[in-house]
Amino acid sequence: MNRSFRRRSAVASIVTALAVVAGVAGCGSSGPGSSGGADSATAWILTGPTEATFRASFDAWNKAHPDEQIKVQSFENDAYKQKVRSAVGAGQAPTLIFGWAGGILKSYVDAGAVDDLTGSIGSDTTGHFLPSVTKVGQIGDKLYAVPNNGVKPAVIYYNKELFQRIGAQPPTTWDQLLQLVPRFKAANIAPITVSGQDKWPLLMWEEYLVDRIGGPDVMRRVLANTPDAWSDPAFIKANTMIQQLVDAGGFVNGFSSISTKTGADVALLYTGKAAMNLNLPSAYQTIQTGDPSFLSGGKLGYLPFPAVAGGKGDVKNVVGNPSNYWSVSAKASQQQKKIALDYLRGGLTTDAYTDALLKIGLVPPTTGVQAKLASASDAPYLTTIYDSAQQAPSFQLSWDQALSPAQGDALLTNLQQVFLKQITPTQFSANMNKTLGS
């Protein structure tokens, strides 16, 4: 081979290699922050029943404001939670950041990744929402997040037909609930369905039991990072009760293989295989798509979490997700921020938005919607959910959201081990105490 040819081809291959490398690197750096251009804002939303509502709202906004466009992308829940954090950390966040408030919002605020909205979102907007829901979007006395989704208190959904079949009344105390377990099992019905693979559905049992036993202060001490806060007798007692319920066969066989993503947990309820399911209102939406006749046939019942004898917590207290929230990325351009703020002021509080939420079986987090609720298709259900949220002396944000990500992660895994009886309640408390302050 000719020497100069060899050299020339070597140079060519270097150039090619560099071009390819540069090309790949170039792809990596064009995130959503820059791809939308300076003119339009971006928003990331979740797939699922609410996706259509969010899209409709943005579509209507884009139609009415041709010079203030918002581009929307949707992601699956778990994937979104991890993706958005990386994006925020890399300064590539969408203009409107969808979130659950709590510990993650606080970490965004600490990192200066989201804007303080106190000055730009006035009381004419915030006054539109229930005060308890708005409050969750505040860190200190500053507003960082605005509610955008239905109110989501966790309640027990039950299959009325199955209760009739064994001639039982819905339980109002924990003891009644325990007594129902052998009766359902004798009739070949699983007493309770829960999707244990996703872990967070298990957390609702823990949250409610701790609240009913010790009241909301128990968790407040944990959130304040009080030393040994997880050793509170309420945690020990709640976890002991959970393991008793597991031993009694309260949860459906193989519950730790069941995933929310396939909707199998709720499917067991409406197909008549399991009697009860403690869940967020998303369960109602799953039934709406899975078997609407179950709802129209009046077979779905719902009740607050039962009281625990001798417990301090008010039976009206609820846990769950007060709402979801929009925050505005601090890294967005001035124009993008302007669009986002205009949308938050003008797009969220419309009647159409409220109606769209109602239509998919979600209770809007807004004040004065009782009349609308009463005329909606499933008025008793929507009114019950609204009242339970509005009248609750305490509406606790789901702990995995309220805690820091490291603590939330450890909590979910340790709790799953409690349900599987891999660790004792005392070990749970000891493991969790180690995460305090992290």
Binding site: A25, S86, N253, P405, Q417
Partner: protein
């Protein structure tokens, strides 16, 4: 390899350089530096810092290392990775070996079966995991479809069963690849060896023991190295299938790294785990090739 004449003393080293200019390695080298070495250095630096992925990282010295190494979860994850490696090898090797020998036959039905066996390798890992998750659902999965109640187990939720389930799904996905290796290996064995052994009165079992197996020795080494190093860094199917659960039952080292980094947002701790994985992977790969004589590999067909 043996065809290259040994350098004689008279020529300069340059004159006898085997192969084209070293410049040809440059594109690959550039990729390796950009996508392997630089991130690796980043991991080493990050393992000495505390970073939640959002705020500015700051130095913590060796605190991440002592914390992660003292954490029982890390030890458990390492042990679990070891179990997966050993179990995967024990399950996949014999099956791929026999399937490889079987599909090496020239009969048409064997070709048809070979194509069918190969199909799982074409699916994406995430799709495989999602499909198996649906199939293994205790209430709405395969047990209900075929009506066999013994299939209605808590496959992914029972801490005792889940490891076996994961090993099975991984095997289902990767046996086709290793079968292909063995098939190619078997087809390269000269027919004359078998003919000669037949004349000597050897039966199929003896042929397998004394001809097929020894001739496949290097295929076995290649396949095993890929299997072991692959299992060490195995992530996607397990992540989608179980998410590391229930509890910590399938939290392998790579999964532990991911969850520490992206669920708990402890990038420093995750970097420590990443560094451990890199070192372990290198040691395993080097050890394997040393031990098995992979680097001294020679043709076994001399004299044929």
């Amino acid at each position: 390899m043996n065809s290259t004449p040994p350098p004689t003393g008279t020529g300069t080293a340059r004159g006898y350089r085997a192969g084209p200019s070293a410049w040809w390695t440059l594109p690959a080298l550039a990729f390796f530096v950009v996508f392997a070495l630089i991130p690796l250095a980043g991991v080493a630096v990050l393992s000495l810092m505390a970073w939640d992925g959002l705020s500015a990282p700051h130095w913590t010295g060796l605190r991440n290392w002592t914390r992660v190494l003292a954490d029982p979860v890390t030890g458990h994850a390492a042990l679990l990775s070891l179990k997966i490696i050993v179990l995967s090898w024990l399950v996949q090797t014999p099956l791929s070996l026999f399937l490889g020998i079987f599909t090496a036959g020239r009969q048409r039905y064997r070709n048809v079966l070979a194509v069918l066996y190969f199909v799982p390798l074409l699916f994406s890992s995430a799709a495989v995991a999602i499909a198996f998750k649906a199939i293994l659902d205790p209430n709405f999965g395969i047990s209900r479809a075929v009506g066999w109640s013994f299939l209605s187990r808590d496959w992914l939720g029972d801490p005792q069963l889940v490891l076996a389930t994961v090993v099975f799904v991984i095997a289902w996905q990767f046996i086709p690849f290793h079968t292909l290796l063995y098939q190619a290996g078997v087809r390269q064995i000269p027919a004359s060896l078998y003919e000669a052994s037949m004349i000597d009165g050897a039966g199929p079992v003896q042929q397998f023991r004394w001809i097929t197996l020894p001739q496949l020795r290097y295929t076995l080494v290649t396949s095993s190295t890929l299997m072991v190093v692959g299992s060490l860094t195995y992530f996607d199917v397990v992540f989608v299938l179980t998410g590391g659960g229930p509890g910590y039952s399938t939290r392998l080292l790579p999964l532990d790294m991911y969850l520490t980094g992206f669920s708990a947002n402890d990038m420093g701790g995750a970097s420590v785990l990443a560094a451990i994985l890199v070192v372990a992977g290198l040691l395993v790969a080097v050890g394997f090739t040393r031990f098995s004589g992979f680097n001294r590999m020679q043709s076994q067909q001399e004299g044929l």
